[in-house]
Symmetry: D2
Subunit: 341 residues, 4 copies
């Protein structure tokens, strides 16, 4: 921790800060500049992190020097984590050179429709099937998902096509239920800082797909991963899916630099979801290829066989044939940067 | 609904859009421009709102003309809603000219400390006591609140000082418990789109304090209020508490124009929280006065009697004496724009 | 300057950083933490500021401890600057308790129209007349202003009504011409970092009205003021006029906290322009009152007597009668927080 | 143009709007919905674009249906524009499958240094040399460039190595001078809406490299290109270089989706500058590859042979050897998506 005092801080204020530091069993290291005084704090950074040092009169800033996301940090775990999703013959790996191709409809609507979509994406090279059974909708009047019925359909269709499945949970009371049916639990962007849900999901020890919140910094994202890991699940895949931007021509702004940033700061795999990032099918292919080229550990794309009838997010879905074309291009680019399938 | 077709949409595409509209029992009204074709859709807008019209080939944009937040809209309810918080002799009103002065520590830390703070803010003119028992913290290693013990302390201290109380709920499984102890339930910024929690809180029929999410538009905020109202609670107070900004010199960016915007679009009261909006005590007074002048229905401020010992958000708390000075100024400005206390 | 080394920086890297610092005639002060090494740099901060210390291998961050905007800083000049605009009997002061009421049309369109508007705003209490003669328009096909003819009209109408005038300059080749006709030179938001223009304007020694750029931090704004001051003009009035936001319901997002922030960091007056900040007449009054309450040194409002015929920005203009009502309220609120008129 | 009236607009208001439209020689087409009235305006959209229709009482919104950037639009010019930079044997093409590799130091510092860098980037495959002679610096105390001396050095070094050159102009009075020495004129991000400069640069008929402003939407960018084209230069290359973001861990936020968006909306080539977008050398390679994969028409990268001595932006420069490695990867990815070199 580095404590920067305000210009003009009094000797009493400096002494008071030093006392507080020593009272915590830490060692202050004073550096008087011509303009400001700076105090380095040596000792157990964790003790210091949670202390409200900035509230002490005379303190301008208190800057931690160690990341607060300990378990998620690259420093704690220099090798990339490889997350295994699924079991038996249907196992997909993400991270450490392994590339995930997650695809499927926004919501599970019926067994027939999901079966058709699953067959198509499997043929195109997808290796994880997605589909929502519990949908977080901005309007209380919109379709909220099929619930447990949707989970059953997802499981059956996944098994039939040899695809591990991922689905979102939005209620801590449903975590156990969802965990029973799925191979990977999705935490949605709107729930990235729903710490109650993070805690429950962490306890399942299932692989997690954590989407970045719309106003979350990379540090915020890693802090949320830390919640999950601290509660028991070490297999967390992060997902960049666009953040809030100022240009409404796009649904969100895809922060492609998040991929190398996460890889520098953390050992966790990071994938990209160009469907939610852009909300516009005509922009998805280019953004998916960008993600593959910049080293993402996977791509998440929404696919629907009749977008105009979709019960959720139809306008942003690719058609199965569009996905097939794109999947082949993604594979080519991902292989060019060293991924294996 | 207005459907704008792409420049160059084919006759088949136009016909297909018209068929879809008629199939929904609605009436299309075609307007062929020199550059684009536009279709007005006449009939029950609600049916149309949830249809994925933008997914139909040839459609450029589908724009609703009626707000999707029906119950929360000013049009549905032209008179301002007055929310009553508390019971018996300790009732505080917000909205329709009534002004709420919500104050208290970020977290309930102990009965003694809360009692001291409550006495001070009551004397300064506050009319609702806040204090967190369940804290949504970005780090799993931070203090998470006293839980039910905190709720008890809050209730007792509120009763002792004749102050209705408000506290946050973060877990749908705790909604009933929290509702038992509090006069008003807070939904935090990070949970503004936690629709499961919104639904449970709506069912309690308790007044709600809903904070705006960090990347939420005003429309998003009103859609979340709609969730609560649609589930039973009509008494929702909205709270502008700063949105994500690009200048890290401030914790968030206070969107002061949200106050008149909400008042144009909705009948619900809107208050301002300059503590979270700025995160810096030296900016809080000016921002609080701005909020009072622009017609906010209340001000929410964090107060602590020893910020450097606070277990949460100490650096942004005002001291009781700072609050007392500010409260007098707020009252003066609020009265100047027609509020009653 | 504080230099924070990367975790794991080698001894050679540390030595190299120290050598570089000493080579600049400065004194390094080493502080080895358990996790990171930090070097305080003591001596002439200015020498250090412009050095690319962050480019040295092993350096994680190089943080200045002194503001880079020396002349504009509060520390260099603890007393608020009072800017005087105009001459003879028509002098308006801004800052140090003096409040500027700047009003007028977006563009000067004709002598008659400007005369009518000027008479109305003068009667309402405005003390500076604005009007654009050179307009920075986003479309090359839009009205670009009357040029010198507009400057002449502005000067004559201002003189007739005893109002000092302010107008924008957008071309460094016109600075002298504009300075001849006007009492105060406006630098628009889009030109806040047009350093060539800033330099030329600074040389005129005329009072300047500098609008904040749409993506400028407060520090950026003060750096631009520094350009003007360093070139000769010490009388700079800053103007918060909304920054880029993510909610397109408003033209921009009014950053009201910029007012107290500027006042903490600088001695320069800061005013608010709610017209450009919101772009919507129905939001202007509330935002103007907010600005007055939070301590702004003035308010800038666009007024037009027939917005639907305005040649620029009509939709955001207030009518003269709306301005009159608002001006009376602004004065009341500004007086309540200690301003004089 | 589509005019949406406010809910509850009176008949008089509707009639007034219709009269105004007819007075402009246009044809209104009324569509009365159950909730709102909408008026389609048929006729010459250009006449309508600049009219302040939104200022008419009762109008909620006035939406153009035709892009305001006519000359820059894809609709006006369906085939991609190929921009040729340079002359004689040193010609580089961008657009329509041709890929530009622009590289060089932020500022021209000396003939020797530039010569060394140019030799290195040429060997690595760069096909345009960049270097600033007039630098827009945020501090008046920073190095402002070598001026004409810098232009001469750039020209000589470019010629020696057979590389066309690009350099920034920041002053309309220098446009002719700069045009004399350079093959392509750069308009910097801070000057994207410096319409005076845009106009002068357009008159030179030289190829232009236009960087996107930090708060500019894609439409804003195309409107600025329109300025240049309307003044004479049809060869404009656009450049995405990161926009203002909320996460300060990165200098800016690279909006990668801007590439396919521009390609849908315009015929102009679009390149990416990952150096300014990230400001961090460790993120540049991944972002450059992303840009190549998503179809950008070129990549702009800052290269310096001794970043810690650079007089401008050293910390974000790549070393020549880093650039060589990256350039080979870029070429591979760009070829994979169909570009030629």
């Amino acid at each position: 921790m580095i404590i920067i005092l305000k210009h003009g801080a009094t000797d009493e204020q400096v002494d008071h800060v030093i006392e507080r530091i020593e009272a915590m069993g830490l060692q202050p290291h004073l550096s008087k500049g011509t303009y400001r005084t700076v105090i380095g704090v040596i000792g157990d950074e964790e003790k210091v992190q949670t202390a409200p040092l900035m509230a002490i009169p005379g303190v301008e800033e208190a800057m931690p020097v160690m990341p607060a996301y300990k378990l998620a940090s690259r420093e704690a775990h220099p090798q990339p984590t490889v997350v295994e999703v699924g079991s038996g013959s249907a196992i997909t790996k993400l991270g450490g050179g392994h590339f995930g191709m997650i695809a499927g409809p926004c919501a599970v609507e019926s067994a027939e429709r999901l079966d058709e979509i699953a067959a198509a994406i499997k043929a195109a090279g997808a290796n994880i099937l997605r589909g929502g059974a519990f949908k977080p909708r901005t309007s209380p009047y919109s379709f909220q998902g099929l619930g447990e019925e949707g989970l059953k359909i997802l499981r059956e269709v996944g098994d039939k096509h040899g695809l591990p499945v991922v689905t979102e949970v939005i209620d801590p009371r449903h975590v156990e239920l969802v965990a029973e049916y799925t191979d990977m639990i999705q935490l949605g962007a709107r729930n990235m800082q729903n710490f109650v849900l993070l805690t429950e999901v962490g306890k399942t020890h299932k692989p997690v797909l954590m989407k970045r919140g719309m106003a979350a910094t990379i540090k915020d994202l890693l802090m949320s991963a830390e919640y999950v890991i601290a509660n028991g699940t070490t297999e967390v895949v992060l997902c960049e899916r666009g953040v809030k931007g100022f240009d409404n021509a796009c649904r969100n702004m895809l922060d492609i630099a998040a991929v190398p940033q996460v890889q520098l700061m953390s050992h966790l795999p990071i994938i990209v979801d160009p469907s939610h990032a852009t909300g516009r099918p005509e922009l998805i292919p280019a953004c998916a290829l960008a993600a593959a080229a910049c080293g993402a550990d996977g791509i998440h794309i929404e696919v629907h066989n009749c977008p105009e009838e979709a019960m959720s997010d139809g306008p942003q879905a690719l058609l199965p044939e569009q996905y097939a074309t794109l999947a082949a291009q993604i594979r080519k680019v991902a292989e060019a940067v060293g991924k294996t399938f």
